[in-house]
């Protein structure tokens, strides 16, 4: 099924969105790795729209790509697409986000948002030694990562009656929205101890609001992703902690698997969890943006 | 001083002008006469720089000139009052009069005070009592026409072109407009005056220029001219205007009892007070009144356009009719040909066919589902032929026809509903004499076939010529109801102006 005609074989990188630097990094690393392995690589932006994603899949299959490095928009919604590819004999390797199907994808290299946020939850509890008022800033309400992270976090914090969530608001993973939401929340709750944000962009926004209000050092900010700005901020002791995902690792592994598949290997582990590591002001030394030193 | 050599102009295939040679005499009132579509307005638009693209040359003080825009023409000293109103509804009177030539202070800011002052002066001259800050949207057609006139005069030009300036205003205003024109002539200004009202031309003009089918076919001194001669020149045939001699059977068709209409806003005064009259089968009822006397609104109310504001009773064939909505009125056999044909009568960029059939699509439906095209075509063909509408095909767009023919389409679309009562609001406004008489004849036929017609008009001769009975309105009240035999211009005017 693979098209040898043009000589070079092709890998498609389908990413849920490029509206967020983290995913840009994921996609570009995957593409880069694929090229390094001697393939033509091509990035498709699903713009958080599963319908657009399935358009991409159809077009990819027609265009005769040999493998798909896939960052799904939705665990369930994307299954249909992957099955289409499988039917057409094109292997799909999921990166970062899971799809709910035991066998549709050839292999899934997953960043475990849930247990990652559990880890953050634990550290969070410990930092606040089990009591205090905190705020949660959610990502896009309709996005399943938003809930994976929120649930993981609460699975820990909700066990401690001392920890009170005084406000829960959404800022759509957007730094500016987070800033404004935080500014407003601070009016209602000047006396909070911590903020947990669904991603690092929002963490930065929240931090800036706190800084402007002169509360930066009373209130601990927690993020998720391990993006550049937050890593530097943790270094500067501005942000308390974040959950480091390893887009580089996942992307490169996916590309590598795809390469092996095309070379004939067939047996891949269905799931390879890539743990989300807790980055704190203590262990920050070992980390750089999106990865380990 | 201003002359044209061999000017031609075509619009998307339509030839509006071919080889017009025209010579305007300075310091005189030059009347331009011609049927609808003769090309008068087009020619004037070229002279005033509205249409920069044309063949031929304009000579201005002996020099050939080519105006690239209205501003050029104005700077050269040519101002125009357009046939269609061209005001900005939401801007105030002052703002409109000075639009495009605002006065500014040393700082380059708008000099509102000065503009207001000057505006007041103009309103004085035109005997229009309104506040300069009043938006023109709140004025009536006629008053807006006066603002247009002020605009042109304010430009203080050498040549002032007036394209049917009196089409919307009534006697009182016309009189003082003429006075103003007289003044301008005395100042040595050149006036170009276009009108379809012959009596005006004879009262006013020094010279006449007759146009037909896009070219000038004659001109001369007014005092050596007779109406017959001019009409013959412009139409190419004789028309004899006979005064109405019919008497109608008086079995009542439409009866109106104590009709009243509240103001549009909560705080505005009532527009109609206790109006009662009746209309017989086959009767033509002329309603005269000055601007703002409420004639239009009377018709609008009968037609069910102001259900929430009106009170009173309405009987048609002795059956009570609530003036609820146009649809009801139509079903009851009433039709209204509105005052403003472009704004309320036609859908300008649809073709003649669908403009005519719009009122009776329901009848044209096959199995109540889809429109029977053949029937529809037949219908429009019939009316094009019956009303002698000048058009190449029923598929021509309404906006490509001249005033007269547009008006006929509006008539057609309403006659198609086979009404018992036909309400006509200024049916001949801006229509050439020839078409006018065609419409008069049509009205007489319809009446003869038993239709009852109410015609609102601001032209006394017209009223006297066609109506069997004359109603006069003033300030929303009926002030007279005269059989036409005892009606004279002076008696009618007396009732129209009377205050009570």
């Amino acid at each position: 099924k693979s098209k040898n005609r043009e000589g070079k074989k092709k890998m498609a990188v389908v990413v849920s969105t490029l509206n967020n630097p983290w995913f840009v990094f994921l996609a570009e690393t995957a593409a880069a790795k694929a090229r390094a392995l001697g393939y033509e690589a091509r990035i498709f932006d699903s713009q958080n729209n599963t319908a657009l994603e399935s358009d991409h899949f159809e077009n990819i299959l027609v265009a005769g790509f040999d493998a798909i490095l896939f960052n799904p928009t939705d665990a369930n919604g994307s299954v249909a697409n992957v099955q289409k590819a499988k039917a057409a004999g094109v292997p799909v390797f999921c990166m970062d986000r899971e799809i709910n199907s035991p066998d549709a994808a050839t292999s899934q290299i997953l960043s475990d948002s849930y247990s990652g946020s559990v880890a953050i939850g634990k550290y969070f509890t410990q930092q606040l030694n089990k009591k205090g008022n905190y705020i949660e800033i959610l990502g896009i309400v309709g996005d399943n990562n938003t809930w994976a992270r929120s649930k993981g976090f609460h699975s820990v914090t909700d066990n401690y009656p001392g920890l009170k969530m005084v406000a829960q608001q959404s800022a759509d993973f957007d730094r500016n929205k987070a800033l404004e939401v935080m500014e407003s929340i601070l009016q209602a709750h000047p006396d909070i101890d911590a903020v947990f944000c669904g991603n690092d962009g929002m963490a930065m926004g929240a931090y800036q609001a706190l800084a402007a209000a002169g509360k930066a050092d009373q209130v601990k900010v927690f993020g998720f992703d391990g993006a550049e700005d937050v890593i530097t901020s943790i270094n500067e002791k501005k942000v308390a902690a974040t959950g480091m995902q390893f887009p580089k690792v996942m992307a490169e592994k996916a590309a590598q698997f795809a390469d092996e598949y095309i070379r004939g290997k067939r047996d891949f582990p269905q799931k390879i969890p890539v743990a989300v590591e807790l980055v704190t002001q203590q262990n920050i030394g070992d980390y750089i943006a999106y990865g380990k030193k | 001083m201003l002359a044209t050599k061999n000017i031609s102009k075509t619009f998307a295939g339509v030839t509006a002008l071919n080889g017009v040679d025209l010579e305007l005499h300075p310091g005189k009132v030059n009347a331009i006469i011609g049927e609808n579509g003769a090309g008068k307005s087009t020619l004037m638009k070229i002279l005033s720089g509205v249409y920069p693209d044309y063949e031929g040359t304009i000579l201005w003080q002996g020099q050939p000139v080519r105006f690239s825009g209205t501003r050029d023409a104005e700077q050269a000293g040519i101002a125009i009052i357009h046939q269609e109103l061209n005001l900005v509804p939401y801007l105030s009177i002052a703002e409109n009069i000075f639009l495009g030539r605002e006065l500014t202070t040393a700082w380059g800011m708008l000099d509102k005070k000065e503009m207001r002052r000057k505006t007041r002066v103009w309103l004085e001259k035109l005997k229009l009592s309104a506040d300069p800050d009043h938006p023109v949207a709140a004025l009536k057609v006629g008053e807006q026409q006066l603002i247009e006139i002020a605009r042109a005069l304010q430009a203080d030009a050498q040549v002032i072109i007036m394209d049917e300036p009196t089409s919307a205003i009534s006697e009182k205003e016309i009189v003082n407009l003429f006075a103003i024109i007289g003044g301008l002539r005395a100042e040595g200004k050149t006036i170009v005056y276009i009108s379809h009202k012959l009596n005006e031309l004879f009262a006013l003009a020094d010279r006449y220029i007759v146009m037909r089918d896009g070219s000038v076919i004659g001109s001369g001194d007014m005092q050596h001219a007779t109406p017959e001669a001019i009409i013959q020149k412009m139409t190419g045939r004789k028309i004899d205007q006979q005064r109405n001699e019919r008497t109608s059977s008086l079995q009542p068709l439409l009866q109106i009892k104590d009709l009243a209409l509240r103001g549009a806003q909560r705080n505005t005064p009532a527009r109609l007070h206790g109006i009662s009259f009746q209309l017989g089968k086959g009767e033509i009822l002329g309603i005269y009144g000055l601007m703002g006397s409420g004639r239009t609104e009377l018709l609008e109310t009968i037609f069910g356009l102001h259900p929430r504001r009106c009170a009173g009773e309405l009987f048609i064939n002795n059956q009570r009719l609530s003036c609820g909505s146009p649809a009801m009125a139509i079903r009851a056999g009433i039709a209204l040909v509105p005052e403003d044909r472009k704004g309320q009568g036609l859908i300008l960029d649809q073709d003649i066919r669908s403009n005519i059939s719009i009122t009776i699509l329901q009848q044209l439906e096959k199995w109540g589902i889809f429109i029977n095209r053949a029937k529809e075509m037949q219908l429009s063909r019939d009316y094009i032929q019956r009303l002698a509408i000048k058009t190449s095909s029923p598929y021509k767009k309404a906006c490509e026809l001249s005033g007269g023919n547009q008006q006929k389409i509006v008539l057609a679309k309403w006659l198609a509903t086979r009404p018992q009562v036909l309400l006509l609001d200024e049916p001949t406004r801006g229509i050439d004499i020839n078409a006018k008489y065609e419409i008069y004849d049509l009205m007489r036929q319809l009446a003869a076939d038993g239709m009852g017609i109410i015609m609102v008009s601001s032209e006394l001769p017209e009223i006297l010529a066609v109506s069997d009975r004359v109603l006069v309105m003033a300030e929303g009240r009926l002030t007279a109801d005269l059989p036409v035999q005892d009606a004279t211009e002076s008696s009618i005017l007396k009732h129209a102006i009377q205050k009570n």
Binding site: T50, D55, V62, V141 | I347
Partner: protein, 327 residues
Amino acid sequence: MSTIALSSKRAQYIGRFQSLIALVVLCIVIGVLSDKFFTAGNGWNVLRQVAVNVCIAVGMTLIVLTAGIDLSVGSVLALCGAITAELLKNGIELPSNNLFIGFTILGAVLAGLLTGTLLGLFNGFIITRFRVPPFVATLGMLTIARGLTMLWTKGHPVSNLGDGFLYIGTGWFLGVPVPVWIAAIVVLLALFITRQTRLGRYIYAIGGNEQAAVLSGIHIGKIKMTVYAIGGALAAAGGIIVTSRLDSAQPNAGTGYELDAIAAVVIGGTSLSGGRGSIWGTVLGAVIIGVLNNGLVLLNVSPFWQQVVKGAVILAAVIIDRSNKKD
């Protein structure tokens, strides 16, 4: 500046003709650059992908012809999709008097379409009853319907809706994808309405000159309500197709679809000020956009460049279209 345009027939004809040229040119360019473009497989792809936008854009055309606009289609699509999915999967439970109502596929689909129609009617009501400009009324609905979707789904997608339902979005019938059938039927109905029926005439009349329409005894209100209701129903249809294609109702589905639909309408030569335009034009407009998306992918244009190119092509298409409707 003279208000004269070409005779409506010719204008429409040319409008269509123009966009047709734009489309053909586009196809040729892409076809030359990629041998994958002119394949049956890809052809069906493009059509299947265009189907949803066609449904929405047809409704939008009727609305725009009355000089209106509907910004809420995207979120209405999402809400109706979600409702259909939820009813199909979990039905309605009333724990109070432990009553449970299950839904057949047909039932769920009808419920979805009904919801769309009602939301559309609501738009029409606000617009006609309170004289709120359509842009604002539907802007409000855009937000409200999105919010309702979130409430209804609690922000979580509704998935695994059963194979029967998938047929709507993924099945084939007589060698043609079902969504394409649906779109085709919608288009034919709309063509019939606009060309053969009274409703169609009234739609054009209202857009052409509302005052004249009123005076001709047309019930502006009724017609407008109808048109917005149709628009809502078609958005719902789109939502059901999308949901079925994905076997999942996404809470944030359809975001920004209103712009695609309007783009299709305008590229198709329909005037946003109402009274002039055609269903055919819209269909062409939608196909142009679809081909463009498809082509950009086949041609390996990088995602960032895609947006630039897409915007440029849309402008180009409209400019070509206007260029010889000059006065």
